[in-house]
């Protein structure tokens, strides 16, 4: 390794050079990206973790109404704290899964029966040993309709479960090749006896024990002395989350050194934050996206030509540019991007084409304005996005009437009720999960009223297909059906934008979600 590269990679590891700049410098020195990336990770590892201190995060998304019962988790603060105290079967990692409590995962040839071998000698915070029975009880609790668990949707596919020694054997109603991914769902914290006795006790086997639980105010975790992988997590003596819902207060807390990391930096101030000494912006591309949704079964949107006209009248580049300020990628009218496994990247990108849009609009025979309902709560900048869209539609001769709805009640009165509105999706870990949640004919939240027999058939077929190439093809076909026939206009995938101070060591790449998928507090340390 050349001296310069070594120097640069140490700079990245210590946070003085951004990853992107390093890759650029490496390319200039004639090093390929994969090799440069490898150098980086070894440099990061070479930087030894520091034990001790208090690692603090100021986070948006916590309310006084939050509980420690994992079934009730919905917002960001419970999500991030969950990754500190909760232990899971598996975790999403770049390029696949990392096993946590599940030591080995196996399945029958038809992907219908799954076996999770539970790691031995892992201890709960209350001193009991984690057993296969606890794991099964946890899954049982989340599959119970009364639990109202946020993971209920993924648990519905389970037909029966049994414990066989260290193994939990799950039999599904229908084959599902993605089951292990679903177990990474943040609600599925393994609790003693599944949390059936005390769902909100905050006891699991994570690297930190719950020390303070003040919903909507602050949370403190103390390092769990008997944690099972002490060389990987739990470096700080304490982790603390302060709930800071005001974006300006969050930023100033980071600048003033009161917290080490914050989430949800607003795109419009990212460039200002970048200039602040000692602060670094971190972005994560995830499956989250902003959408304009039409009901395929409601006039005038029951006309495929009108839907196509409205899709073609969307200027996606401009949306990413102006609404996300570049912190995102363009969408292609199906809810999947490269953060999903088995994503087909060869589907033609739909581009803004007012002439073609006008052609389809004329063909649809529709006349008069089209009513689009929106609200600030639909996604940050939704009202601006609707107005931008109004402009680009006007160029295609389509009149959009934008109606701004009150934020309070938007999710109960407008979204999934009115035929054309703006909304967002946080995404799901697998394509199957995303499509099953919102695009299957029988889906709970079929917010585009998309009823397509062929699509449904492909979805069921893909679940049982263990051959990855064949599955990828099936998903490709489904994506194209949604793209061309569905009621979804998907202009952009948004990125999560976090900021950390230069006192944070060990910050790695996250997948899918903010702050290293919520593991930043557990895996980082305070630099000496």
């Amino acid at each position: 390794m050349s001296k310069e590269l070594e120097f640069l990679s140490r700079h990245v590891a210590s946070g003085r050079l951004s990853r992107r700049d390093f890759l650029g410098r490496a390319a200039a020195l004639g090093i390929t990206a994969p090799f440069a990336n490898m150098l980086l990770s070894s440099a990061a590892q070479a930087q030894a973790p520091v034990r001790g201190g208090i690692l603090k995060a100021g986070l948006q998304g916590g309310e006084a109404t939050n509980s420690l019962d994992p079934a009730t988790f919905l917002s960001q603060v419970p999500f991030n704290f969950a990754k500190c105290w909760g232990e899971y079967l598996v975790q999403l990692a770049p390029g696949g899964l990392e096993n946590r409590l599940a030591e080995e995962i196996g399945s029958s040839d038809d992907a219908k029966v799954w076996t999770f071998k539970i790691r031995q000698d892992v201890e709960f915070h209350n001193g009991k040993t984690v057993t296969a029975e606890d794991v099964m009880a946890t899954l049982e609790r989340h599959s119970n309709e009364d639990s109202k668990s946020g993971a209920l949707g993924i648990m519905r596919g389970i037909e029966s479960m049994k414990v066989d020694g260290r193994d939990v054997v799950i039999t599904l109603k229908e084959p599902n090749a993605d089951l292990p991914y679903l177990m990474a769902d943040y609600h599925l914290i393994i609790q003693p006896n599944g949390g059936k006795d005390a769902p909100d006790a905050g006891i699991s086997a994570g690297s930190y024990k719950v020390a303070v639980n003040e919903p909507g105010v602050r949370y403190v975790g103390e390092r769990f002395a008997n944690y099972w992988q002490p060389d990987k997590e739990g470096f700080a003596d304490q982790v603390e989350i302060i709930v800071v819902n005001d974006p300006t207060a969050r930023t100033s807390a980071l600048q003033g050194g009161q917290v080490h990391m914050i989430n949800r930096v607003e795109p419009k101030i990212v460039d200002l934050i970048k200039r602040v000494p000692g602060v670094e912006i971190k972005t994560v591309s995830g499956p989250g996206h902003y959408v304009f949704i039409m009901h395929c079964n409601t006039a005038p949107f029951d006309n495929v030509d009108l839907r196509m006209a409205l899709k073609l009248a969307m200027d996606r580049e401009e949306m990413v540019d102006k609404i996300l300020r570049g912190y995102g990628t363009v969408g292609n009218d199906f809810p999947i991007n490269s953060s999903y496994p088995l994503f087909a990247d060869d589907i033609e990108q739909r581009a803004y084409d007012p002439d073609k849009a006008a052609f389809h609009y004329k063909k649809s025979g529709h006349d008069g304005p089209v009513l689009l309902r929106t609200s600030e709560v639909a996604f940050p900048g939704a009202v601006d996005a609707a107005q931008l869209y109004q402009q680009t539609c006007a160029k295609a001769g389509i009149t959009i009437e934008v109606k701004r709805e009150p934020g309070d009640g938007y999710w109960s009165e407008v979204w999934n009720k009115q035929p054309f509105s703006t909304s967002y999706w946080g995404g799901r870990p697998t394509q199957d999960q995303m499509y099953s949640t919102a695009y299957l004919s029988s889906a709970d939240w079929n917010d585009t009223r998309f009823f397509n027999e062929k699509f449904d058939k492909l979805l069921i077929e893909a679940r049982a297909e263990l051959d990855q190439d064949k599955r990828k093809n099936l998903y490709r076909e489904m994506s194209i059906i949604v793209r061309d026939e569905g009621g979804l206009i998907l202009p952009m995938f948004n990125q999560y934008i976090d900021a950390i101070s230069d006192k944070v060591g060990g910050y790695g790449d996250g997948v899918n979600h903010e702050l290293m998928d919520g593991y930043a507090l557990a895996r980082c340390w305070v630099k000496a």
Partner: protein, 318 residues
């Protein structure tokens, strides 16, 4: 019974009556909100049986009047009910928040009330001179600026640039008093600046009003210094309106500081109420509403009583 005690007893009785009336209004108001409590607990996917069970469990099938009295009975015995969202007793989560709010209000009041009164007295002493103009100008300017703006200014200069005080004012049980005080310096400063002018101007106006009286002229003629005149003759007669405006501002410090709490991330009642309103947690909203009403009515009773006591005609009846 002396007439003054009767008067005071009347005021208190009226206050209690008013509080009951407010409790009826709060209860009625939350009842006519659209939506059903059981439905909002169980969510949109609830089955009819589960809804029926929960309605029975919560006693929602009883007539509203029965529910009102059982709620009232609970409140009178210190049981505020159970939060719908967390299923925790409301009193145990609400009390720490109430104490935090009172803590911040207390320190803001400790600084602002004497400061306002002293500045008011100074303004009267040097009325229409440069000192009076400077005091009034500063106080009015700080009141005219919206509180979030003062907050952000303080955060930018004092917390971020100079790093003297923290911008996040999270306090918690078990935190040493000195740390707590350090944490609330900025929000307390904002509150002081917001309420100062009102109290100061009222003090100034009330005393100036008294200063027009004939007996002040007499005091001047017998050679008393102007501070003595204000202290001994003018101020005691101006107490009633001053106490009134002070109590109004104290009430504001307790029930009206949501914005300051949000900016400085202070765990008080305001943020707590907002969180529960957005989740339709009706019992908590009722409890907080009742506490706010009690604070307002209570402080106004104190103001009334102070006015009664300050009035020599009532203290020494013929």
């Amino acid at each position: 019974m002396s007439p003054i005690l009767t008067l005071i007893a009347q005021r208190i009785a009226l206050g209690v009556l008013l509080l009951f009336a407010v409790s009826v209004l709060i209860f009625a108001g939350t009842q006519i909100l659209p939506g059903d409590v059981a439905q909002s607990i169980l969510g949109q996917s609830a089955t009819p049986e589960a809804l029926a069970n929960l309605r029975r469990e919560l006693g929602l099938n009883d007539p509203a009047i029965v529910r009102y009295f059982s709620w009232l009975g609970g409140v009178l015995t210190g049981d505020l009910g159970t939060a719908l969202t967390t299923r925790q007793p409301i009193a145990s989560t609400l009390m720490p928040r109430l104490w935090n709010t009172l803590f911040l209000a207390f320190w803001a009041a400790i600084v602002s009330v004497p400061l306002a009164v002293i500045l008011g007295l100074l303004a009267v002493r040097y009325r229409n001179g440069p000192i009076d103009k400077a005091i009034s100008g500063f106080a009015l300017a700080s009141t005219s600026l919206p509180e979030f703006f003062i907050g952000y200014l303080l955060i930018f200069f004092v917390a971020v640039q100079m790093q003297w005080f923290p911008s996040i004012s999270t306090v918690y049980a078990g935190m040493p008093l000195a740390d707590k005080l350090n944490a609330i310096v900025l929000p307390a400063t904002v509150l002081v600046l917001v309420v100062l002018a009102h109290m100061m101007r009222m003090t100034r106006a009330a005393i100036l009003n008294v200063m027009q009286s004939a007996y002040i002229e007499t005091a001047e003629l017998k050679g008393l210094s102007s501070f003595d005149i204000i202290r001994k003759h003018a101020f005691p007669n101006a107490i009633a309106p001053i106490v009134n405006v002070i109590m109004l501002n104290l009430a504001f410090l307790i029930v009206g500081v949501v914005v300051v709490e949000v900016i400085f991330v202070y765990p008080g009642m305001g943020q707590y109420l907002v969180d529960h309103v957005s989740k339709r947690d009706v019992p908590v909203v009722q409890a907080v509403g009742l506490i706010f009403a009690a604070v307002y009515i209570g402080l106004n009773i104190i103001a009334d009583i102070a006015a009664i006591l300050a009035n020599p005609r009532l203290r020494h009846p013929k």
